[in-house]
């Protein structure tokens, strides 16, 4: 029995064959694990070493180097706001502050939002600043007002499958 779900195991095996070396599959495999579980645990890494003979140290180096990989269980939605120069010039700090405050207030009022906020580096959408990502969805020109709207919109939706899987495994 594999540590991973049948579906994930198939994806991993596909990646192992897809590139010239097995090691090249480390980044895509970590993306795939995260797509399913929302984050990557030490147990996941050890299982990759045991089942697929990838080096746990190599994987951990990659896991801790790249900022997209999450090493702790996250909230269902990650509101990532670009804080690099162009977005900063266009008021990204205000957007970040507004989202932060909204999350904190909701927490205080006992109705926690399924959100966490991250100020991130350049998202490559500098002409449409401030640029943001909510999980994999891109939203540009996100003023503080627009940000709060987005929080309402997403909060009203059914949680993403990865967030449900993440909660189940916790």
């Amino acid at each position: 029995m594999s540590y991973f779900s049948d579906e994930l195991k198939k994806i991993i095996e596909g990646y192992l064959l897809r590139y010239e070396t097995k090691r090249s599959s480390i980044l895509p495999i970590l993306h795939a694990i995260q797509d399913e579980k929302d984050w990557i645990s030490d147990a996941d890494v050890e299982a990759l070493e045991k089942e697929f003979e990838l080096s746990a140290v190599d994987i951990r180096e990659v896991l801790t180097f790249y900022t997209m990989y999450r090493q702790k269980p996250p909230k269902p939605y990650r509101f990532e706001v670009c804080k690099s120069i162009s977005c900063w010039l266009m008021g990204a700090n205000k957007t970040i502050a507004a989202v932060k405050l909204d999350i904190e207030n909701a927490e205080k009022e006992g109705r926690p939002l399924p959100f966490e906020v991250h100020a991130v580096e350049c998202l490559g959408q500098c002409g449409y600043a401030p640029s943001t990502l909510i999980n994999k969805d891109r939203h540009n020109n996100v003023t503080p007002e627009r940000a709060l709207e987005l929080i309402r919109e997403y909060s009203a939706k059914e949680l993403p499958q990865a967030a449900k899987n993440c909660a189940k495994l916790k």
Partner: protein, 466 residues
């Protein structure tokens, strides 16, 4: 096409094989270009950016470790620009270093300290808060890791990847939060781990058996040969001469024998040398015709033993070679350590052959010896007892013989059962020769004795009436 190139470094000409790096060429000339990440036994990482040199005609300074020598190249290691670059490179290394030298075991042999004195001597400009990182991590049976002291030269990672091929260390995170480490809850587990302490230019890796024991400036060095196995690694033995106390061994470069490394087992070869474990005075209990030898004495000692015994007895006693029943002489770990854990098997065999002696091998089975019923047995026991996995029961076999004169170095209760016990010197206290597994003869150098009155086999056998 010529296979060599000639270049000048600081005005001195040197001819080197093609492909030689500038830093290797400076080594030949005895010029020291400061470096942290470069190590002659490892691949080139080129990350510390310390070994900057000026090459005539090249606008930017270049690193000496990744630049190949070229015909007619003019290299300068001491220009004002180069010196300034060295100073800044050192400062960058030190801004987040904790400067906890007073409690660091590396102090006195730390490259950060040494280079500060050689190329630094500036006033620190760092006024910001330093980055805090994990400290005093238990990362192996022999190792403690302080990631704040680490300068991320990656020597240890390359050693794990290239020499032992165990790859148990990695550099995690990025930027100035990068840290060396093992996978959580995993350890460095192999027989070469102390080399990580040696190659670490700072006090990030420290040795559990040396931590907080002794300041390195109290230690005197003796160049000698490791008695731990038949490879005969070239080593330096460190002794606090005032205390007559041995603390550690470190490898000494010999490309024909051990390269730059030695094994962890060999590192323990100082433990039995110190007073608390040593026989200090003769113990007399009771005369002889069997001779039991172990393959751990020097060639010179074997010659004396045979010459003196034959001179006194006027015949050659029956010669036994006592070895461990369980040893796998042909074993080899592929790096340094050999299955024959005796330092001088090859020397003993050569001497026995030259004297046409056919010894009886005692290997687990001592029947041949007890059947001979010797009236007196001379037993030259092993200095290093670790390879003798049944030593206790084998001592008991000797104790059943009528009169045993035992020569040895380490204290133990069972010696009370012998007629006469004569203490002898350890490898660190002897001048002499070991012949290694491939027949290479290497010299030992004597240190002052832990017990100044201690006699060598040569003196004991010539003074005492047998």
């Amino acid at each position: 096409m010529s296979d060599t190139v000639t270049l000048s470094i600081d005005g001195k000409d040197v001819t080197v094989p093609k492909g030689t790096s500038i830093i290797e060429a400076t080594e030949i000339l005895g010029i020291e270009v400061p470096r942290f990440c470069w190590h002659p036994g490892l691949s080139v990482a080129g990350v510390c950016r310390f070994c900057m040199v000026k090459i005539d005609g090249v606008p930017k300074l270049q690193i000496a470790c990744n630049t190949s020598c070229a015909e007619g190249m003019k290299v300068f290691t001491q220009t004002a620009e180069v010196k300034e670059a060295h100073k800044w490179a050192l400062e960058f290394h030190l801004i987040n270093h904790p400067l906890d030298c007073p409690i660091c075991d590396q102090a006195g042999e730390c490259e950060l300290q040494n280079y500060y004195m050689k190329v630094g001597k500036y006033s620190s400009q760092m006024e910001e808060d330093k980055i805090l990182k994990p400290k005093a991590l238990d990362v192996g049976d022999n190792l403690v890791l302080d990631t704040e002291r680490c300068i991320l030269c990656s020597r240890c990672v390359r050693f794990e990847d290239e020499v032992t091929k165990t790859s148990s260390l990695g550099i995690f995170n990025r930027g100035d939060h990068s840290v060396i480490g093992t996978f959580p809850d995993k350890k460095v587990q192999h027989n070469y781990s102390y080399n990580l302490v040696d190659i670490c230019p700072v006090g990030a890796f420290t040795a559990k058996d040396f931590r907080f024991k002794c300041r390195v400036w109290f230690l005197k060095e003796t160049k000698t040969i490791c008695p731990g196995c038949s490879t005969g690694c070239n080593v330096t033995l460190y002794e606090n001469k005032n205390q007559r106390q041995y603390y550690r061994l470190k490898p000494r470069k010999n490309m024909d024998v051990n390269g730059y490394w030695m094994c962890d087992y060999g590192r323990t070869m100082y433990e039995h040398l110190n007073a608390e474990n040593r026989l200090a005075s003769p113990m007399q209990f009771g005369k002889t015709v069997s001779l039991v030898l172990t393959p751990q004495y020097t060639n010179e000692e074997y010659e004396i033993i045979f010459n003196q015994l034959v001179a006194r007895l006027s015949f050659m006693p029956v010669v036994y070679i006592w070895r461990d029943f369980n040893e796998k002489i042909e074993n080899f770990d592929g790096i340094l350590m050999r299955g024959d854990r005796n330092s001088n098997t090859a020397g003993l065999i050569k001497i026995l052959r030259s004297r046409n002696i056919n010894p009886v091998i005692l290997k687990g089975n001592f029947d041949a010896l007890s059947e001979q019923k010797p009236s007196v047995s001379f037993v030259f026991g092993p200095e290093i007892e670790k390879p003798y996995s049944r030593i206790a029961s084998e001592f008991a076999c000797f104790a059943e013989l009528s009169r045993v004169v035992y020569f040895g170095t380490s204290k133990k209760q069972i010696l009370n059962n012998f007629s006469l016990v004569i203490p002898t010197k350890v490898f660190a206290e002897k001048n002499g020769t070991f012949t290694n597994f491939k027949g290479l003869e290497q010299k030992l150098k004597a240190n002052p004795l832990v017990f100044p009155a201690m006699l060598g086999i040569e003196t004991i056998l010539s003074q005492n009436e047998v």
